[in-house]
């Protein structure tokens, strides 16, 4: 189950999907909208995706996780549109016979999502809004760290494109 959707994500649906008689462990990760970021008071996050490619990349993450670890089942659902404070923007659920694989795969998935899946987050904060990770040329309060993160993310992704072309 690798999906983007415009409505709230049902944790029970994902956990039900990965539940398996051969599994002794289920790890989940829920990304939620925090009320503050880099010193700004956040009102909501607004997500946009290139939906077909985003779902393809989510499935690619699932396939890579299944190659790396002995997992049973995996589900990733990312929400689009506005996500209010405390609500989930993304949920990952993964089951495995032994807990190490479930932990490792869920951690791997969220790191990959943040680097390679074509989804964009606009932060709506008190006093403005900004596409996170996009250098707009307009100085923002305490944006220094975001720009560094963007550069890292970007470098990782470019490396992946190169590797694929070489293969």
């Amino acid at each position: 189950m690798f999906r983007v959707q415009n409505f709230s994500i049902d944790l029970n649906e994902l956990v039900g999907y990965v539940t398996d008689a051969e599994a002794g462990a289920i790890a989940t990760f829920i990304g939620t909208t925090r009320n503050n970021n880099e010193g700004r008071n956040v009102i909501a996050l607004d997500y946009e995706a290139y939906p077909e490619m985003a779902e393809k990349e989510l499935a690619r993450i699932g396939a890579e996780a299944a190659e790396k670890w002995q997992i049973r089942r995996m589900a990733i659902v990312h929400r689009l549109g506005p996500v209010q404070i405390g609500e989930a923007s993304v949920i990952i659920a993964v089951s495995s016979a032994h807990r190490e694989a479930a932990f490792a795969a869920s951690r791997f998935a969220i790191e990959e999502i943040k680097k390679t899946v074509p989804i964009w987050k606009k932060e709506v904060f008190e006093g403005g809004e900004v596409w996170i990770g996009t250098q707009t040329g307009q100085p923002l309060p305490q944006r220094q760290r975001i720009e560094t993160e963007t550069e890292n993310r970007d470098r990782d992704l470019r490396r992946r494109v190169r590797t694929r072309s070489a293969a």
């Binding site: 990304g31 997500y47 946009e48 995706a49 290139y50 077909e52 490619m53 985003a54 393809k56 990312h78 923007s89 993304v90 969220i110 999502i113 943040k114 680097k115 390679t116 899946v117 074509p118 989804i119 964009w120 987050k121 606009k122 596409w131 996170i132 990770g133 996009t134 250098q135 707009t136 040329g137 963007t150 550069e151 993310r153 970007d154 992704l157 470019r158 992946r160 494109v161 694929r164 072309s165």
Partner: protein
Amino acid sequence: MKIRVKFFAILRERAGTAEATQELSEGATVGDLWHGLQKTYPKLDVPGIRLLYAVNRNYVHLDEKLHDGDEVVFLPPVSGG
């Protein structure tokens, strides 16, 4: 040949549209398409932005040759999660 382009996030806002169709001559690359789009949508050139490029939902390089009917997307730095 006809190339379909989709815009997302800051590029959608800068272009003022989510989709466009561009007529290109045979042998044109993703880079040529981007160059041509800048003339139609001059605001697309976001200072300092680092784009990635996808043709038919696969990441490619700027020198990738295009074919009639290709779907091309210029991707701003992603920020899901």
